[in-house]
């Protein structure tokens, strides 16, 4: 029964990975940009929430809401003020700038908060489990995270499919210039996409901070796992990203159970590399592998 437990844990962990991945995929889908600071921005959100709680004494839920709003605005300004200017020339500029951003965020966080591990306290809910059978129980919190992931992805899909703005996102993604001819302002759309992406990654960062400890250097790992989930899931598919996250999560937990803590992560990476080798466009590819 231990394997079933491990598999389910991995699946739920995948939900968290999918949350990190969704924003990355959204930004790439709309403006073909890979944000190397994506993971760090999620960690930044966790620190913002921590700061709000410590400084203003707000309860976690309210601090989270405020943080999400802040990160939404940060995303808009970041894209409009800086990142938009790096687009369109070649691939290298956004990579270098977002990598630079990653270094800036990590080191700024270390300077302000030190490199120590931190945690966000959500109270009892972190520890209670729901019992399925005599040998199988699932933690409430991981389950909640998984459900949130599904809700967020479903909401995003709905937005893209039905909302006027969502349609504009898709049109811009298809053909930027033709979208301009429809009255769609690219700069604004890009900025909104980044804003939404950062709002989502803020949720992911906060949930991560509750689930486990976090520190300023965690962002790089979050980025890598998010990336692996996106690639495995297939670019252009949000639900694929969820599946990719699940596969990654399960690979890691099963790997840990089978080979020990250090190797669990390696197994995850190896599964990713295998998928990349065998099915490079991912499980549900809609677009050609970029």
């Amino acid at each position: 029964m231990i394997w079933a437990n491990v598999a389910i844990q991995g699946m739920l962990l995948g939900g968290l990975y999918a949350l990190f991945a969704t924003g990355l995929a959204l930004v790439f889908g709309v403006m073909r940009m890979v944000n190397l600071a994506h993971g760090d921005l999620g960690i930044l959100a966790a620190f913002v929430a921590l700061f709000i709680i410590q400084t203003f004494g707000l309860p976690l839920l309210w601090a989270s809401v405020v943080t999400i709003i802040i990160m939404f605005l940060v995303g808009y300004v970041l894209q409009r003020g800086l990142l938009n200017h790096t687009l369109g020339v070649d691939d290298t500029r956004p990579i270098v700038v977002t990598f630079g951003l990653s270094i800036i965020i990590q080191n700024a966080l270390i300077m302000k908060f030190s490199a120590d591990s931190q945690g966000l306290d959500a109270g009892k809910i972190e520890n209670i489990s729901v019992k399925i059978t005599n040998q199988l129980s699932i933690g409430w919190f991981p389950l909640i995270v998984f459900v949130i992931a599904i809700v967020v992805i479903a909401a995003l899909q709905f937005f893209l499919a039905r909302a006027k703005l969502g349609r504009a996102f898709r049109a811009t993604s298809d053909d930027r210039e033709a979208a301009e001819l429809m009255g769609i302002n690219n700069k604004h759309i890009y900025s909104l996409a980044m804003a939404i992406a950062l709002a989502i990654v803020a949720v992911a960062g906060i949930l991560l901070a509750i689930r486990t400890t976090f520190d300023p250097t965690q962002g790089s790992f979050r980025l890598i796992y998010a990336f692996e989930a996106v690639i495995m899931g297939g670019m252009g598919s949000m639900w694929g990203t969820l599946l990719g996250g699940i596969v990654l999560g399960m690979s890691q937990t099963i790997g840990t159970q089978a080979f020990g803590a250090g190797w669990g992560l390696v197994v995850g990476h190896l599964v990713f590399l295998t998928v990349l080798a065998v099915r490079p466009s991912g499980f549900f590819a809609k677009t050609v592998t970029a």
């Binding site: 790439f28 073909r32 940009m33 890979v34 944000n35 190397l36 800086l82 200017h85 790096t86 020339v89 691939d91 290298t92 500029r93 956004p94 990579i95 270098v96 700038v97 977002t98 990598f99 630079g100 951003l101 990653s102 270094i103 800036i104 080191n107 700024a108 270390i110 300077m111 790089s220 790992f221 980025l223 890598i224 990336f227 692996e228 690639i231 020990g260 250090g262 190797w263 992560l265 390696v266 990476h269 190896l270 990713f272 590399l273 990349l276 080798a277 490079p280 592998t289 970029a290």
Partner: protein
């Protein structure tokens, strides 16, 4: 490549040839050789004068030389082949571990092991290539990072390589201290100069021409008969080797190898920032960038985190404001190219109907490869 002398019927077009070097280049060459000789002989001269080796200066210069070599490698990948890698630390670290493996375990002389260690990096870089070449742009970058992560994790988990705490490079530590310090210094200098020469000759070759085409337009290059995959693979392997050798030199300088330090992504940060500040896609750029970076490192290194933060800010500003780097600005402003990689059109006789003296056109590069 030779400079062909092409003459056409005198009435039709003025005689011309395609040349690479100017008189200025010959001066640059002379000055460069002088600098290298001074750097190589310097410690010996100073030892003769002062009676003791300038050890700390030499160790510092090793840092400069290794940074310079790394920057050339990163630039080769990113600035010329269009492969922006954020995971070269994999090969740097592998080179470091390679030194230990070849020196301590296989008992090669450390100075030889340094060059063989690069092969360990190549051994990983080769099979990895067909996988990550499926990715493009930003996703390719992260892919290289994944590889670095995998290597780091594997090395950290294996007890034989010292696990998380690493190992001491005994074979190097056992060398007489003077030999080691001088040897490391000269090796580093050799690697730095070697990397510059390597990139220079590469660019002058057919591969260099192919790279320029690939950098400009992948698909067009492919349809012109350029074997894109092979060209990229070659550059990828060369860069991995170069990074590996540098990693080995660093390990010899520090005498310790340890996964976190060997495989830290900070290596990428240094390489990227040097190239960004100095000048992307040129040979001169990384040299300038390395010198500037090194100077900053000397004065600000005690500030650690703040230093990295400032570095990041400067890099972001540079890319947005001066994307071609300092050298890019200089080269454009004063039309200066120290390394004769470009091909120029030289008029042998005045064009018919004009009274002007024979002119050299500095800019009419047939292939823009700088």
């Amino acid at each position: 490549m030779s400079t062909p002398d092409v003459t056409t019927p005198p009435e039709a077009t003025p005689a011309f040839r395609i040349a690479r070097s100017t008189r200025m280049h010959k001066y640059v060459l002379a000055v460069s050789v002088l600098i290298v000789v001074l750097l190589a002989a310097g410690p010996f001269i100073l030892q003769f004068v002062n009676g003791v080796q300038p050890v700390s200066t030499m160790r510092n210069l090793v840092t400069l030389f290794t940074l310079l070599a790394l920057a050339q490698m990163w630039n080769l990948l990113g600035g010329y082949a269009g492969l922006i890698s954020v995971g070269q630390q994999a090969y740097i670290g592998l080179g470091a571990y390679g030194l230990w493996l070849l020196g301590d375990v296989l008992h090669l002389h450390p100075f030889v092991a340094v060059f063989a260690a690069g092969l360990l990096a190549v051994a990983v870089a080769l099979p990895v290539a067909p996988l990550i070449f499926r990715l493009r742009g930003g996703y390719f970058a992260i892919g290289t990072w994944v590889i670095a992560e995998v290597v780091r994790l594997v090395v950290s988990n294996i007890q034989a390589t010292g696990g998380g705490s690493g190992k001491t490079v005994i074979s190097a530590a056992r060398l007489p201290i003077d030999t080691r310090i001088t040897g490391t210094y000269l090796l580093a200098l050799f690697v730095a100069v070697g990397s510059i020469l390597l990139v220079y000759f590469l660019l002058r070759s057919r591969l260099g021409l192919a790279l320029t085409a690939i950098r400009d337009n992948d698909l067009a290059a492919q349809s012109s008969g350029v074997n894109v995959f092979r060209s990229k693979l070659l550059v990828w392997v060369i860069a991995a080797y170069g990074c590996g050798v540098v990693g080995a030199v660093v390990a010899m300088n520090l005498l310790r190898i340890q996964p976190t330090a060997a495989f830290t992504v900070n290596w990428t940060a240094y390489m990227m920032f040097i190239v960004v500040i100095g000048g992307f896609g040129t040979i001169e750029g990384p040299i300038i960038g390395a010198v500037i970076y090194f100077a900053l490192l000397q004065s600000l290194s005690q500030y650690g985190t703040l230093y990295m933060l400032l570095l990041g800010i400067v890099a972001v500003i540079m890319v947005t404001v001066a994307p071609k780097g300092i050298w890019g600005y200089v080269a454009k402003r004063w039309n200066l190219h120290l390394f004769p990689v470009r091909r120029r059109l030289v008029l042998e006789s005045p064009p018919p109907g004009e009274d002007t003296k024979p002119a050299e056109s500095p800019d009419a590069a047939v292939a823009e490869s700088a």
